[in-house]
Amino acid sequence: MIEFIPIFNHVARVARPAHTKVAIAESMEEAFQDLGLDSLDGLVMLMYFDDIYGIDDAVSKEWHPTTVLELHDLVMANKTKEPASMEEVVEACK
């Protein structure tokens, strides 16, 4: 299983407006707000996580994670598939 934090950081980069700076998450405890991610960024990220982990959009729309760990736990509890590699994540976010 590939680590969650690199996936989180890649999805955050894709979800933020083009060409803005994004702080890199280094631990599971980091809060979205401290990373410069706003509520719209969070919603877009969930759409990508749905795609990557095979989660129904209707389910994730009810989530309100505020930290990397909270998001991780929700994704793990609802996933129907998992990416085999970071390359697969990058491809899913193109």
Partner: protein, 369 residues
């Protein structure tokens, strides 16, 4: 004084036939803007906008604030992904999973963040005149409200099921049926006429004299003036063929910029090549200006809708810098005014014109530098 200090453009001369839509027609497009659009995570107009959102330039703008700054998204119209005619099963069909970003103001707010701190973020939906219409906004903000930088992004969802059907249905666009009959896109011509739809975007930065001096940069052009007008028309998607709307816009910009008509030497026409625009725009130009040459870009890159006015102006500034004013493509008659051959640029001012459905006409005057 208002200066054009930075710009980026995206347009293509490549065309492709869309034969699986209601009105088969060719369009100028970047196929990669639809890459993975069916996943619902990619919105083609945003992919198109990314072609002009140069990270290096955005970084420069963020790191070099100059004073009061505004961001304008000239979006042409408001199309909502997942709605309207997007349900047809064509290669252009998709349903966007994240609808808020299809709202122009939400998208504008997101992209404005990339350009630094903003004192105002706004949008415009003046149809095909949108990006030239906002030149009057740029002028107002810098001249009367002490803004030092106004950033304009213009992009519209032109090549989409909804737009291609709308223009096919209204018989404004050149359909494949007409192309098969030998008609080529052109303007002000007695044989060839009409346009194809095209994808295009532009990003332009306008700054005050103070801002230019502060940064020690050499501008590309000066925005001499801009004006918008409407005509006494009862048809919101038509044009008065006597050119009343264009005439009002031209007279307005000449008056308020204290420019005389003989100073205008080059005109970038709206130039759709439709019968009504040919008559309206030609009547207006011949009645208001004396010694000028006129060109059009829609035959080369398609009609990029809301982006067209500013995008085509920026292309013209580039061509003039390269030493020529391009001919209007596919002219069948020799014409030294509505150019049938490319020519050297005469000294003088440049006037850009645009018209939009809903009865809006825009004129702006630029001086190349």
């Amino acid at each position: 004084m208002i200066y054009l200090t930075h710009y980026r453009t995206a347009s293509t001369t490549d065309v492709e036939l869309f034969d699986d839509i209601v009105y088969p027609q060719k369009a100028h497009w970047f196929p990669d803007t639809y890459h993975r659009a069916k996943s619902g995570l990619v919105y083609p107009p945003h992919k198109l906008a990314e072609k002009v959102l140069d990270p290096e330039l955005l970084g420069y703008l963020r790191e070099n604030p100059v004073g009061k700054t505004a961001f304008i998204l000239a979006g042409g119209n408001a199309h909502f992904a997942g709605l309207n005619q997007r349900t047809y099963d064509t290669r252009l069909s998709y349903t966007y999973k994240f609808l808020p970003f299809t709202l122009t103001q939400v998208y504008a707010g997101r992209i404005a963040q990339s350009c630094g701190d903003m004192d105002m973020v706004t949008t415009d939906a003046s149809a095909c005149a949108s990006s030239l219409k906002v030149m009057m906004d740029v002028q107002n903000l810098i001249q009367f409200y002490n803004f030092d930088r106004v950033i304009v992004l213009t992009v519209e969802d032109g090549v989409s099921n909804a737009v291609l059907e709308f223009f096919g249905d209204s018989k404004a666009v050149l359909t494949q049926k007409q192309e098969d009959a030998g008609i080529k896109p052109s303007a002000f011509d007695s044989v060839n006429s009409g346009f194809r739809v095209g994808q295009g975007a532009a990003f332009a930065v306008f700054e005050s004299k103070n801002a230019v001096n502060q940064q020690h940069i050499k501008p590309h052009a000066r925005l001499v003036g801009a004006y918008n007008a409407s005509e006494r028309s009862t048809n919101a998607i038509g044009q008065c063929e006597d050119g009343e709307g264009f005439i009002r816009a031209i007279e307005g910009v000449l008056h308020y910029s204290q420019t005389t008509s003989d100073q205008i030497k080059i005109v970038k026409t709206h130039g759709t090549g439709t019968a009504s625009n040919n008559k309206a725009e030609k009547n207006a130009l011949t009645q208001t200006l004396q010694d000028f040459i006129a060109t059009s870009y829609k035959q080369k890159i398609g009609h990029t809708m809301g982006s067209s006015g500013l995008l085509e102006t920026l292309l013209l500034l580039g061509d003039i810098k390269s030493g020529f004013v391009p001919a209007i493509e596919n002219r069948t008659e020799s014409d030294s005014v509505f150019l049938s051959e490319s020519t050297s640029p005469p000294d003088g001012l440049i006037m850009s014109l645009a018209a939009g459905m809903g009865n809006i006409y825009s004129a702006a005057i630029f001086k190349g530098m």
